[in-house]
Structure formats: structure tokens, C-alpha cells
Symmetry: C2
Subunit: 325 residues, 2 copies
């Protein structure tokens, strides 16, 4: 295939990636065939993988630093949803020749920014060329004390359902990023939503604080209603969402399209269940993490997810189960 | 993008991937946002990532089970090169719609075969669609006692250079797989070489046995001469290869193209250095692992890699540093 860049694969690794692994003894300066990952006694590793493909998960002309940061953040969101603290990551980039060293430099800048923000480091990876679109895979590592992890399968009848932050901004944000909301919102609202789509805020401070409080947890990536369905299926229970309680940002509220807010994806908020007895402790944990948490429904015996409107009537939701564009 | 298959993403995970994670408590039935990875006291995790892209690392019409097994094996080869024992892996598949459930079923069959052969299991992953070529990323996990890992940086002047198996079969095998050797070799030799290209034999039994014996090690993926250059650069030493000592398979020897054998890639043999005092122990380890090991050169003070022909003259090698097709 020839070299896709002036620097070549090894030059790119040395220039852009090795600095991101500096100070990590286990990364072995990215010179070896593999990396060493320590797990201190009394801790367990939590590992997650998420891939992003150009034209599926991001737009071709999205800024490379934001693509990098979104890739990091969707993975950190998965760790937070298990109540784990992030420590590092492995990265695979498959890049077409059209993405030159300048593009990669900006991509690496985004990684560096988020490494500093979240206290993580690059541990290893692979760089290959592709005749197709940019294809990125990140494997993120976190830690949790054994038994402190929160899974999807622990929801019980009588539990309340909670969600962090605001819901729907991811789906509306995609429209905003495409310029489809310019006539309906203020420029500041459009910018807010587009930013929410491009740069998720993984709830890394909140997730670990919910260990021992939440009975089940996941992050909202496929859409609130569908994702509660995943918790209910894993827990063999039914879920009820009161739509009027679902927290919306002012911009999302102005759009008034509740159905898309409930079924759209890419919110990367935490969706969790807990017994009523934990409600005060949960609100205290949310305050300590600086992230709002809102009760939006309840768990019952049975199966499936029901969404009730303000009058208590069941809403028919067409688009449960988010698809990317 | 719509569903790329009759089963959809969740159906595919349930049907093809969940069975590959059965019996792995930490995989959480692939139902959670992340997996739990244990590391027993007194062991360290060794982690490696390798990606393969259709049209770069494999041919579009290669059998899907062999693509899967090659992906597994190139990663296991990296673990073996660190003297680690493999335990499991995370897998990301980015598939175009043209690859239907039947293709994926055969791909999963290949994974199952190699899981059984190497005693590993699927721990987690991600499945996405792509408008481009098949793009696969595997993150493999192994274990090693702290300090028992073998790195690239330990070669010292006076060490011998060893290689396992035979060299060059990967490069000739690509030509064989393309039908370019049909006129020059017997059908059995063509089949042997094509098989060596399509299905590497990672030296998982040998690698861990070289802990404490080898001073530096890596696997031959970019070409023997270039890869020894990586060891020499990491160790700040020079390497000398005596070309006549490099072990060739009968089929490769018949082709008589020594330069391609020395610079071609995809051999996935172990290349390592050790002091002369370890030679007997190394040959005993090789016998125990059932893998031939051959001394092919030596380490000296200085830098760079020199390849000597049978007359002791330096060979000029054009193609150091393998590129895939």
C-alpha cells in the first residue's frame, strides 16, 4: 500500500503516540509487542471496547480532536456505568491515506486533552492503513474493588429509576451539528446541542459514587427507553418511565419533541435503579459529583418498558433502539 | 444505516458471540457495558492489540474462519513474544452490509476453533457497521509473573540470535495464496505455503519457556532483518545475521529467493537473543515445546543489522521493513 504519510507508521507512533504513553512504565514506550497492565491487590480490572467509524459514528469533517475526545469519552462512560475508575486505554487507528500527519496531530491533541482531564494514559495500540473510512477502536481499562461493580442485572420491583444530567441532547445535537435546527433555536442553543453531541460528558465522578447504592446501571447510548429495556431484560423486571419527569435541557425542551428525546441515543448519561431507601444517599452522591440526578420512574414485576405521558397514558414510541445515522 | 443483517446487532451478539464467552464469569454474558478481568496475585496482565483490514491484511475472498483465526493468532504471537500465556480477548468487528449472517457464522466458527486450540475465551467487544471494508481489532490478554516478561531491549553484545520454525513462508505464502507460484512449485508445496500465510502458528508453547533464558524477544511480523533491527535499536546494540543459517522450509528453499525470505513478513516466528551460556537450555526448551529453534547470528556492540552471505560478505537488502500488499 506504500506509506500513507510523510512520517510512516513508526514515525507516527514515535511523534504522536509515544508522548501520550510517557510516564507509563507498563506501556514500555510503545516499543514492545505488548504492554504490561498492573492490577493492585484488592482491585479488579474493568475493560470495555467501543469503535467509531467515519460516516457512521462521526462526520467526515468533524474536527479530529473532537473525534478523539468522543472516542475516549464513550468508553469512559461505559466504565462509569460499571462504577469503575478509568486508568488507561489501548487505541487502534485504521486511517486512509487522505488523512495526513496534520489530521493525526490534531487527533493526538484531542487525546492529550482528555488524558489530562480524566487522568488516563495511552498504554498501547496498533496503527494500520485502510482503503476505507477512518475506523477507530479504543479499549479502556478501569479498576473497581471486587463486588463494587454495578451491573445491569440487579434491578428489583419497587426500585426507582434515575437518570443523570439531561436526556435527548445527543439526538438533537446531531441535528444541530448538521445545521438542521438553525431556524428553530437561538445560535447559543444550537451550539450547546451540537457540543453535547460532539463531546459527551462521561459521568466518571458520579459512577463510582453509586457503588453500593445503585442496584443496576448502564449508560444511555442507544436511547433512554431502549436502554431501560436492556436493564429490565437483564434483571427480569418491567420498567415504567414518567415522561414528564425526564430532565430536558432548555434547548431540548424548546424543541418539544419528547419522543426523540426518549428514544434518541448518544446521551452518555447514567441510567440506574435503586431502592427508595437509597434516594437520599443518591442525591448526596450526585451533589458530591456535581451532576444532577433525577428520579424518572419505577421498576415493577413483569417485563418490558412502558412510558407514561403527563396524563398517565401509555405513549407509543416508534423508534426504540437508536440507530446512528 | 438500517440493520446490516437479518439478525441485527443484538441478535448477532446473542447468536454468534455470546456462545464464545460462555463459562467466563467476567464476560457477564456480554450483556453489560464492560467486562471484569481478574489478575491472580503474583501475576501481571500482558495486553496487545492488532488490527486487520480487508484489502490490506487479508483478501476479500479469504475464508472467514481463516481470517478470524489469523486475527487471533497474530495477537497470540505478540503475547508469546513477551513470554506470556494467553487467557482471553476482546473483539471489535466493523462489517459492511455485504457481509451477511452467513459470513459472520463462519467467522465465529473460526474463533471457536482457535479458542479450543489455545484455551482462550471471548471476554467482550463491540460490533459496528461500516460503509468501508471489513475492519477487525482484537485486544488479547495474557498473564506473566512480574519480571518474567521478555522485552525487546535486553540484547547484549556477545549474545546469540535465534529464530523459531522457518522464515520466509509468510511472504512466499502470500504469493502462493494469489496463485503466483503454481508454475514453480508442486501443488503440495503451494498449499503448504498458502496455509502458512493464512494460518500462522503462534509459538505459544515456546514463548513462556524462554522466560529467564532469552535476553530480548519479539515475533517476526515485519520481516526478519527489519525486526532484528527493532531489537537492536531498543537494546542499543548491533545485529549480525548469517543468511546461510536462516532456516527455510523445503518449499521456500526451492524458490531460492533468500532476500524476500529475510525481509518478507507475516512469519510469526519468535526472534530472540540469549547469551551463549543459555544455548543448551534453549534447545531443551525448544524440544519441550516441539518447535525447532536455530541460531542464526550474533549481537555486537554498535548499531544496525548486517546480513552476511555464505562467503561472509555483506548482503544489500532492498526491502527491509515489510509492507503488506
Amino acid at each position: 500500500m506504500g506509506k500513507p504519510t510523510a512520517l510512516g507508521e513508526f514515525g507516527r507512533i514515535a511523534k504522536f503516540f509515544a508522548p501520550l504513553a510517557a510516564g507509563q512504565p507498563g506501556a514500555l514506550d510503545l516499543l514492545d509487542d505488548a504492554a504490561l497492565v498492573e492490577c493492585p491487590p484488592g482491585e479488579r480490572l474493568v475493560v470495555t471496547v467501543d469503535a467509531m467509524v467515519e460516516g457512521v459514528h462521526f462526520l467526515s469533517d468533524d474536527p479530529p480532536d473532537l473525534i478523539a475526545r468522543k472516542l475516549v469519552r464513550v468508553n469512559l462512560s461505559d466504565l462509569a456505568a460499571m462504577a469503575a475508575r478509568p486508568v488507561g486505554y489501548f487505541l487502534t487507528t485504521a486511517l486512509p491515506k487522505s488523512r495526513g500527519d496534520d489530521w493525526l496531530a490534531r487527533f493526538a491533541d484531542g487525546l492529550a486533552q482528555d488524558q489530562a482531564e480524566f487522568g488516563i494514559a495511552l498504554l498501547g495500540g496498533d496503527s494500520v492503513s485502510t482503503p476505507g473510512p477512518v475506523s477507530l477502536t479504543l479499549t479502556a481499562f478501569g479498576r473497581v474493588a471486587p463486588g463494587a461493580e454495578v451491573r445491569r442485572s440487579g434491578a428489583r420491583p419497587g426500585d426507582l429509576v434515575f437518570v443523570s444530567g439531561t436526556i435527548g441532547d445527543g439526538a438533537f445535537g446531531l441535528e444541530a451539528a448538521r445545521g438542521q435546527l438553525d431556524e428553530r433555536l437561538d445560535p447559543a442553543e444550537v451550539a450547546y446541542l451540537a457540543d453535547r453531541y460532539r463531546l459527551p460528558r462521561p459521568r466518571v465522578a458520579l459512577g463510582p459514587r453509586l457503588s453500593g447504592l445503585a442496584s443496576a446501571m448502564m449508560d444511555v447510548s442507544d436511547g433512554l427507553a431502549g436502554d431501560l429495556g436492556h436493564i429490565c431484560a437483564a434483571s427480569s423486571v418491567a420498567g415504567v418511565i414518567e415522561a414528564a419527569r425526564v430532565p430536558l435541557s432548555p434547548a431540548a425542551a424548546r424543541l418539544g419533541r419528547l419522543e426523540l428525546a426518549l428514544t434518541g441515543g448518544d446521551d452518555y448519561e447514567l441510567l440506574f435503579t435503586a431502592s427508595r431507601a437509597q434516594q437520599d444517599a443518591i442525591l448526596a452522591a450526585a451533589a458530591a459529583a456535581g451532576v444532577p440526578v433525577t428520579p424518572i420512574g419505577r421498576i415493577e414485576a413483569g417485563q418490558g418498558v412502558q412510558v407514561l405521558d403527563a396524563a398517565g397514558q401509555t405513549m407509543a414510541l416508534a423508534g426504540v433502539g437508536w440507530r446512528h445515522f
